[in-house]
Symmetry: D3
């Protein structure tokens, strides 16, 4: 028990002091003995518009210093339920996209094999693909996962720029094609923004993905959105991916492809809180781009969502694999 990792307490050491790690947790070199590993993936090579998410992990660590230990509503205590630590950044090559996909897949598989579940901070949204690949490689028996996907875009395009198959606009099409996700258990929440063509969502709908536009989400309200996400993605292990651009850019300007008219953070937190009971066994929070975030608010929103997701994962872990 003596090496059960605990975050530094802001009442003892001021929040601006000491190393900047996820949630002020200790850094571990190895996933062994951890239930949940917080990892950074500093890579933005899949970005089609504004870059900068390579700097996301550092700024998310810094902002996460504002998080305390206990969830204010559910009173979940993730660090009591689970052994959680900061595992540092995965290896990447900023100038080589295909190599980075392999590096990340390998590193994630290793973490999973060591028994730890990953909560990753991006980086751009293409990273969900090697995360899903690595989980499948690390724990082959899991089978295709369900997906709860917060985003303003469906990210199920086929190709860009005359044939490029791997960008941050294509990961979930690739993941379905590769059998990593079960399309009938995918729910996309907050989709909005103008379309390239009226048929942009045709493929997604044809394979059974449930698309909830922001208009539908607003009309239903957060609690009903959460219930629908439970219905679609439930019944097995699920991955949660949170693109920060699901949040309105006034709250989260620091991102690559902002879309006006998104969730405010309160709504997103309420939906996340409504996902208790789902089996979230891995997750990511992506597309935080510090160069476009002069006030730092994007990272603060991101870190807050990471804490909400961590609580969901810790409860799942404690439920499925009690100590």
């Amino acid at each position: 028990m003596s090496d059960w990792p605990r975050p530094v307490d802001g009442v003892t050491v001021p929040r601006f002091a000491g190393p900047s790690t996820f949630m002020r947790l200790p850094v571990r070199e190895d996933a062994a003995g951890l239930d949940i590993a917080l990892i950074g993936i500093p890579f933005d090579g899949g970005t089609t518009n504004r870059p900068g998410t390579r700097h996301g992990p550092r700024q998310l660590r810094e902002a996460s210093g504002l998080m305390r230990r206990v969830h204010p509503i559910s009173l979940t205590e993730p660090y009591t339920l689970c052994r959680v630590a900061d595992l540092g950044d995965l290896p990447t090559n900023p100038t080589d996209l295909m190599q980075t996909l392999d590096l990340v897949t390998g590193a994630v598989a290793k973490i999973r094999k060591a028994g730890a579940w990953a909560l990753a901070a991006g980086g751009d949204h293409l990273l969900s693909l090697p995360l899903l690949r690595g989980i499948a490689e690390g724990e082959p028996g899991l089978g295709p996962l369900g997906l709860v996907h917060f985003d303003s875009h469906s990210d199920t395009n086929d190709t860009y720029f005359g044939g490029t198959r791997y960008t941050h606009g294509t990961p979930f099409r690739r993941a379905v094609e590769e059998g990593l996700l079960d399309p009938k258990r995918i729910v996309q929440i907050g989709i909005r923004g103008s379309l390239y063509s009226a048929g942009d969502m045709d493929w997604a709908r044809s394979v059974g993905i449930r698309i909830m536009t922001i208009e539908e989400c607003v009309d239903l309200g957060p609690d009903a959105v959460a219930a629908e996400a439970q219905r679609v993605a439930g019944g097995g292990p699920a991955y949660l991916t949170f693109d920060i651009d699901s949040i309105d850019p006034a709250f989260a300007p620091g991102t690559g492809t902002p879309e006006v008219g998104g969730f405010n953070p309160r709504e997103a937190m309420r939906i996340l809180r409504g996902l208790r009971g789902l089996d979230i066994i891995a997750a990511d929070l992506v597309e935080v781009s510090p160069p476009y975030d002069p006030s730092g608010n994007t990272a603060m929103v991101g870190a807050t969502m990471m804490f909400e997701i961590l609580c969901l994962m810790a409860e799942t872990r404690a439920r499925l694999r009690p100590l």
Copy 2:
């Protein structure tokens, strides 16, 4: 058909590449053959507080590069319904307000005479006056127009600074006085902010203008606001003017006279979408001031609203003057 203007596609050419034009549309020197002309009016000489809207057209062009071709809810395809292009900036003289009013009036009249409808990006709100004058001059038979007016201020003051009759706080009083607008068909949406005196709105109410304060708008909800706007401004051709300060300054800080407590963009988009069916035959989006917009979000909100308005105008045009 070969010169029907089409926007550059972000899936082919990255959004940060190529010239920065409204909606990535081609630039035309002449309005002939166009249904709708997107124009910039870089002028802020009517500003009583913080300047900078002279830089609005450029930043709105840049931000509009994020807009795609199809409306996400109505699936309206404005560039299929109409020939739309960027007609560049109208002539102005930054140091001469009265001359600029004449220059703009003349240029707008010429566009209207060529058969194109203008959607203008300001510039300050005084520019609505020469826009209305130019429309009347270019198409004399139209008669007084209805007006859907998004704003936090009524802009119906009489004079400023001891007798000045032309500022961005007076255009709609002048337009009513000049017979350009029918006051009984004017609806002002989102009015708020403290008052100079308890009688600030007396003139507007006395001529029959329908003022909807932000409190009333919030109590009614966006759909009912849109219905009321349809009721008031319907029954004939109408002008739509969108002052970006109708949006709360957290979403749109880059403006000259911000007022806390405004619409969030989602609400404004919902109201705009509820205006389908109105005969919007010209419009402007004004008061975007880039120097006060460090994150660029104001222009992004503005460009998004321009796309919503463009869809309304394209539908009207296709309905009233089919190809």
Copy 3:
């Protein structure tokens, strides 16, 4: 009557011209003859995280230049009801916390003895303590006050950093201990954010403080929140304290301990407007930190709230102590 203070009118003198005072009111050296004194307290020595509120008073003065004379909904005219002026900044010592507490207490007592009610602009939240002390010293017969407290934190911790009793996280515990506040008439509105431990609120609840989390506030709606605040804090003179971090950091990033998921300003204004009838006999607005406010929006929100609070105080004053 000739020296009844009046704000400069923006229709006469542009808002960017002339000295920057609270609400463009005249500056007075002395509280004598005033009903309400607007004061600044430039001090941030009680801050445990990000500093900078020492610069709050200046930026709030600047932003308050956008306020006009009449409340847009209630049509309250505070400067007709009461004699209001800017009394400048109270003395502080930026490097000596305990001395500053005494300096502020003394200055506030003197103002109260002169017959004026203070509306203070901070500075950090610890300043509520010497404000309450000064009021008690200046008007001993008032007895323990009720408190309407807008905040994302309860600020009722006991100690920090191994025994420090005076920080911006402890003022209301101290004030209850000192008999300055009646805990059963304290209502805290908007509380949220993760907790140090599950028992963080135990003391507050044990003494009878009514804590309304942001979740409860959202579920109830602004009007019901205001009604509850009236119920709890009514029945006697009350103090109103408004921590700007009760507002979501997208609207008010310039603060020391931001918490994602707060009120938008429209909601807060609606709650404040629902407090009419309460006997608000002094107030503060605190935690505006300009260095973290690149767009200046935080101060604009703060100044807007100050005007709302001023209207409440002016009505109370006119009701309780007619001219």
Copy 4:
């Protein structure tokens, strides 16, 4: 002696506290009894490119709070030599250029008639014209003045935009034409930047203006530049005008027409210090535009130059009109 104005001391009252006035001096309503009046002129209607200098006086006041009482090299004590105070802002109309020229001329004439010399903070450079007119009107016997002119532009164009004679690019041509300045006693220091045409300087040179390009200034060094300025502008009363864009935009980005490759502040201070002995009887510092000055450094440079100029004026005043 008791009302001899003295600045507030930063060792006693922190610099961030109290009202923001020029050099922390007291505010006076009237120039009577003053030797030197510090005035603001919040107007940018003559600007041909980026606006915002209407906000210059406020930011210069704020920045000037960092100035102390004694010159570090010459040990000049301006507040001992002269009675100096902040006379507030002159009247302007932001939407009417020609009216503003008259308002400023009148106000300056009145100050001069009261016996005070003006050191003005702009505002744009066109304001030098009404300042010179006002001085001539207030003290007719002075005759044409010499001019020491720091700038990156000559500001002697004839017209803009098809005939406009009054912009911030024309004041010194107008002033020479009106007999306010003696062109043979004009020296322009730091001129640089690309030219509209090879003949841009022809008029200036034809009337005898001495143009020192930045290249010449760098080759000569600050001390020789000062000596040349003394030679040209000496032999009678002189006006000093300091356009902040003479400073390189890395040091002073907040200006309307920046030109790369200017003075660093240390060089400019050295030249100013070398002007001791010249009869500087009025001056301005113009073109500080806060919206383009995110770090505030421009105003800080501006305030520092104002202090240097104030020392020159105070010495001149004490020499020419001893108490």
Copy 5:
């Protein structure tokens, strides 16, 4: 002669109006008939540290609107000497580095074959490689070029990240290896910053590259630096590459790998002016990264240097290939 391209004049049309093109020149679709083509290359895939230079061309176009027509010292009139236009942006794929190298090479070759010389705005420094390749392909007889290279880094590393051969730290090693440059005619100006190892420059020196550290440049002074550059790179056609990080980051913060202690722009302009007579037959200005440039000064410095380089190229062109 009627289609000889001319820039828009700022005395006629305000600089904030109209389309944003390089130097306010007309846009051409084709290089035919041009002497010098200004091109943008929006790509940052070779960046090893902070990204964002993909946005460089747009911001450089915007900033170049401040340039006028005539060089202030040499009085060179590039638009009279040569036909110069904005040829838009070359094709790139933001997610595919190797494809982009080929796309750029092909496009540059085509321009060169059409008879135009390219002055390119990046983008990251790797782009110099396809620029050199394209020139060699488009005009095979040129032979290895000389190189005048302004930079804080030598950019002659062999590999990064375990074997990656194409990054913005390797272009000139590749170019020498490929025979595109004559290493004995390469001069690198302004090199500084700490080293990975004491042997970092060994390869460069071994092939004969002349490295001038910033210390040496400061000791020599700009004129002697220019003379040395003439000596080394003279005797044949030369390429000029200007990495904006050669400038000190206070003047040019918007770049990916800033190094404290660089040139100020005045020094760099002086060196460039000293290169007259060299046969500069193509050039680039790279590494301007707008997301790191809050004040826009970096692009302004970059545009100023582009104008200086354009004058050099125009003189060379007029000398070598008179009309």
Copy 6:
């Protein structure tokens, strides 16, 4: 040898990846076995003007990631000469100045007793006092130290705000009074800025401190300044303190008391390089205030100076206490 600490190499792991430590060095919990300990002291309680240096250590760590391993001119390799690591942040209490002085003194003494020399990153300049106290306590035989002091202020005031003896304007007066420094071996470099009174420097001069104003430094040139510093501070062990406000605020805006007209970084680096041979046995770099540093350049300058100082200390250590 296996645990000899080495920085992470930017050619292997991108600079934006991995934990943010000083110079990318490993973190150590204990000073034992180290030659030089890099420490942060996050405290700004002694600040009399703009706060924020409590956030300095984090931003300096981040910026120091740009430093490589070898000095570019001297080719000094500090990590080969010495065992250097990041020892984290010392304990502080942001709300208690006197307690913090004691905490820092104790921690520094402990490091010194363990045999390591400290290079500290502040924090405000008052921290030099407990650093000097801690060194004296940890190594009593050292005796009064010499001091090389880069600053724009002498920091030898006696009291502030009516008697406060401990602020960032007083540390060196206290240190001389306490016998920690030998005033005859103190040299202050870069002093400038206006004075409170003509006698501000009297005490410093009376005890023998050598004050070099910026004017003198500019006239002498960097090499002669370094020689004079060697002359004054030589002849025994010396402390080096570098206040970032010695650098001109265009290069280092993020500081609490900026003074226009300071060193550019190139000059400061040249002076530091000229100090080789002095026995620098401890040092600090203070007054970096991130909230006032929107571009991050201040921290970059600070980190660069820290590397220069580290090289000086490593050479001293290797000379005085060879391995």
